[in-house]
């Protein structure tokens, strides 16, 4: 079972721990990390120059967890499972479009598809329809004159006033919505929009 590939390797002189071929280990590690470097967009020159000659340069490679995960198909979790159980809130939960909407005084929550609204106006209309109460959405346009305040929980877990950021940014970060009574929010120094302009 001796094959051509083995001949030269056996005679090669190397420094390394007994029982394990360090250079081969570096070669393999290089192969993997090279994959990360090229797939994460950085130039593979960084990798190639130092690695083959000296093991030390391997340490330069970006070992951050984010880079590791960019190897295609690794870890071997099927794509359906990846989409459905990613803990990272910035991917699955928001991307799906359905967010929970709670309204103060209403004993049950609703679910609505943010993806089906085109903008804040649409959202205003949809919220009104959802709870059968007019005037929820008016808050987006006219800060002062409405009984309700619409807030949302963003990716970081903070509660933000809806309507401040552009629509695209909003739907990307909105995890859930809550419609509060304005009376509960007084004392928090809510500036009506347009005051600072």
């Amino acid at each position: 079972m001796e094959k051509e590939g083995l001949g030269l390797e056996i005679t090669e002189l190397r420094l390394g721990l007994p029982g394990r071929d360090v250079a081969e280990k570096m070669m393999k590690k290089r192969a993997f990390t090279e994959m990360i470097m090229t797939s994460s967009g950085s130039s593979s020159d960084q990798c190639e120059s130092g690695v083959v000659s000296s093991g030390g340069d391997v340490e330069k490679v970006n070992d951050s967890p984010a880079a590791k995960s960019q190897v295609v198909g690794w870890p071997p979790v099927c794509s359906y499972r990846r989409k459905n159980s990613c803990k990272d809130a910035s991917t699955t939960k928001v991307g799906l479009g359905y967010v929970k909407v709670s309204m103060d005084g209403v004993p049950y929550l609703r679910k609505m598809d943010l993806g089906s609204s085109q903008g804040y106006d649409d959202l205003a209309f949809a919220l009104d329809k959802l709870f059968g109460i007019r005037g929820i959405g008016v808050a987006f346009k006219d800060g002062d004159n409405c009984e309700y305040v619409t807030i949302y929980e963003d990716k970081d877990g903070d509660w933000m006033l809806a309507g401040d950021v552009p629509w695209g940014m909003f739907i990307e970060s909105c995890k859930r919505l809550r419609i509060m009574k304005r009376s509960d929010a007084t004392g928090f120094g809510l500036q009506p929009r347009g005051v600072d302009e």
Binding site: M1, K3, E4, G5, L6, G19, R20, D21, E24, K25, K28, K29, A31, F32, M35, P65, A66, K68, S69, V71, V72, G73, W74, P75, P76, V77, C78, S79, Y80, R81, R82, N84, S85, C86, K87, D88, L96, Y98, K100, P107, Y108, L109, K111
Partner: protein, 575 residues
């Protein structure tokens, strides 16, 4: 047996149900071949391109149940482009034309279209059972055809498919006369569900034993569904929202208590962990628990639930359970046969959720364990040696250390000895997946000891062609070999071409095989389809002199009796 009339022989054959056994029977003699083929009702085709519909129907004209698998396993991990193949349409067309009495169709990793589903629903009067696993290409419109047209539908089981949800009314397409449902699984649908139609359907299906709901079915609907189906055996909970009001929750508790036949629980796609206690009363009956999609259930709520499940045989869980949680499993679930621990954090935050300690604890506490899939941060040879000693009965052993090439974290040695211990001790091992730092040595062990091994998955392992050769020469029962990112090349690939006739398929991606090597293989073995999947610049793979040494990105070869397939997309070269 030769003195018995055919009918008697056929009657005897009726008792032989496994595919392997029936295949063996058909090889005994011409007369048995003939009797067997006319009496065969269930046919299993592990690779849809190994044969074609015409040959299937010629040989088994009385078939009632067909199982087909399409794409190779690594398609699950996005290594196979979507348009690669695996279309079910030609099969359904041929079956429809032949008027065979199809009752059951089970598909895995195939491309299914709404057109296929519509044709299926209209062509077979007695069609009863549709099981689709990891398929794609269809929408809820296709489901509507099945619902509307299959008068005797018993099973509609959709597992982990990519279905375009048109948010239509497919559930209301089941006619009022449809009362035969036994299995209804639509957990993988993303969109809204017509709850009224669902409740009516469940209420008029007295035989319904398995119901798996999607995300869009909230807790109060769950309570109503369970109370009109107390005969439920297998339940997949959809959404289990936070803060249900006390009335809904009480109703749910009451409904659950009545479901004394419940043996299997899954789902909790969105969960309020503190509501899990509603399920405690029936936990002692559970034999199967799948919480692998329930990211919000962990910590003490999870542990409390598991402590009630003393009869559990199958557990699928996320690694957020931790080593401590696995110790609880080990001390509680003495009947455990199958365990799968999935990674909860795929982006790689480095949270050491489970380690070798959890695995050792499970092996020590669960003597009946025979199948395991374990994603973990680290492993040691010592732990694997202990596991092998504790559990010599493994049939399936799949270990995935999240960081490729990671050595034994205590000794920094490769994990050859650990896996070696596993294959040596587990004489019935049929499936093995390797990970961590591995040299050719582990393959020497596998070739020597893994006599029953049928499926082997290799990633980032081995040093030279010798590794692959050890496996090809040693594992006589090998059926499916899949390798990625390992330094095996043409020498190993070409050493024994006849070996591939005894295997279903070989996958090699990001290895060292070259185009000329693959061409030589294709020449030597015309009964193989040697496919090169080349998604990058096509010009690089041209036929001139030195380009032959170009490394092949993805190679997939499989034995076939029908030659080159005609439906391959342009980026697939069949040599």
């Amino acid at each position: 047996m030769n003195y018995f009339p055919d009918e008697v022989v056929e009657h005897v054959f009726d008792f032989v149900t496994s595919h392997k056994d029936r295949n063996a029977i058909s090889l005994v003699c011409k007369s048995w071949y003939k009797i067997e083929r006319y009496s065969r009702q269930k046919v299993f085709i592990g690779n849809c391109y190994a044969t074609n519909p015409e040959r299937l129907l010629r040989r088994f004209p009385c078939l009632k149940s067909l199982t087909l698998k399409g794409k190779p396993h690594f398609a699950d991990f996005n290594l196979v482009p979507h348009e690669w193949g695996g279309f079910v349409q030609p099969w359904i067309e041929a079956l429809a034309r032949s008027r065979v009495g199809l009752e059951e169709l089970r598909l895995k990793r195939m491309v299914v279209t709404d057109e296929s589903l519509e044709l299926l629903s209209r062509s077979f009067v007695n069609f009863k059972s549709l099981v689709l696993v990891s398929c794609e290409g269809f929408t809820t419109d296709g489901l509507a055809s099945i619902a509307a047209n299959c008068r005797h539908l018993r099973d509609l089981d959709l597992q982990e498919n990519e279905i375009d949800d048109h948010r239509g009314q497919w559930l209301s397409c089941f006619p009022d006369t449809c009362t035969t449902l036994v299995t209804l699984n639509f957990a993988c649908l993303e969109g809204e569900t017509n709850l009224v139609a669902l409740e009516r359907l469940v209420a008029r299906s007295p035989n319904l034993k398995s119901l798996k709901l999607n995300r869009a079915v909230p807790l109060d609907a769950l309570a109503r569904l369970m109370s009109c189906a107390p005969q439920m055996v297998d339940l997949g909970v959809g959404s289990y929202e936070n803060d249900p009001d006390s009335e809904s929750y009480l109703k749910l508790q009451a409904a659950i208590k009545k479901c004394t036949s419940l043996r299997s629980l899954s789902g909790f796609l969105e969960a309020a962990p503190h509501c899990l206690s509603a399920f405690h009363p029936i936990c002692h009956n559970l034999t199967s628990l799948n919480l692998s999609y329930a990211a919000e259930i962990h910590g003490s709520h999870l542990i409390k639930l598991i402590q009630h499940c003393k009869k559990l045989q199958r557990l699928w869980i996320l690694d957020s359970i931790g080593d401590k949680g696995l110790e609880v499993v080990a001390s509680t679930c003495k009947e455990l046969q199958e365990l799968r621990v999935f990674p909860s954090d795929l982006v790689g935050g480095g949270n050491t959720a489970v380690t070798e300690e959890g695995l050792v604890a499970i092996s020590a506490g669960c003597p009946k364990l025979h199948s395991i899939l374990y994603f973990c941060q680290q492993m040691t040879n010592a732990a694997l040696v202990t596991v092998a000693k504790n559990c010599p009965n493994f049939i399936r052993f799949r270990l995935c250390i999240l960081e490729p090439n990671k050595p034994d974290h205590v000794t920094s040695q490769p994990l050859d000895e650990g896996f070696g211990a596993i294959v040596k001790a587990c004489k019935n091992l049929r499936r093995l997946s390797l990970s961590g730092l591995l040299t050719d040595q582990v393959f020497l062990y596998i070739g020597m000891y893994a006599n029953q091994l049928e499926m082997l998955s290799i990633a980032f392992a081995g040093d030279t062609d010798k590794g692959m050769l050890y496996v090809l020469n040693g594992c006589k029962k090998m059926k499916k070999l899949e390798i990625r990112d390992s330094p095996f090349g043409d020498t190993a690939l070409l050493a024994d071409v006849s070996k591939y006739e005894t295997m279903r398929s070989l996958w090699m991606s990001s290895c060292e095989v070259t185009l000329s090597g693959c061409k030589r293989l294709a020449e030597k073995a015309p009964w193989l389809n040697v496919e090169i999947i080349n998604e990058t610049d096509n010009n690089r793979m041209e036929e001139n002199g030195h380009e032959g040494r170009q490394k092949v990105d993805k190679l997939y070869l499989y034995r076939t009796v029908v030659g080159t397939r005609m439906d391959a997309p342009p980026f697939v070269w069949i040599l």
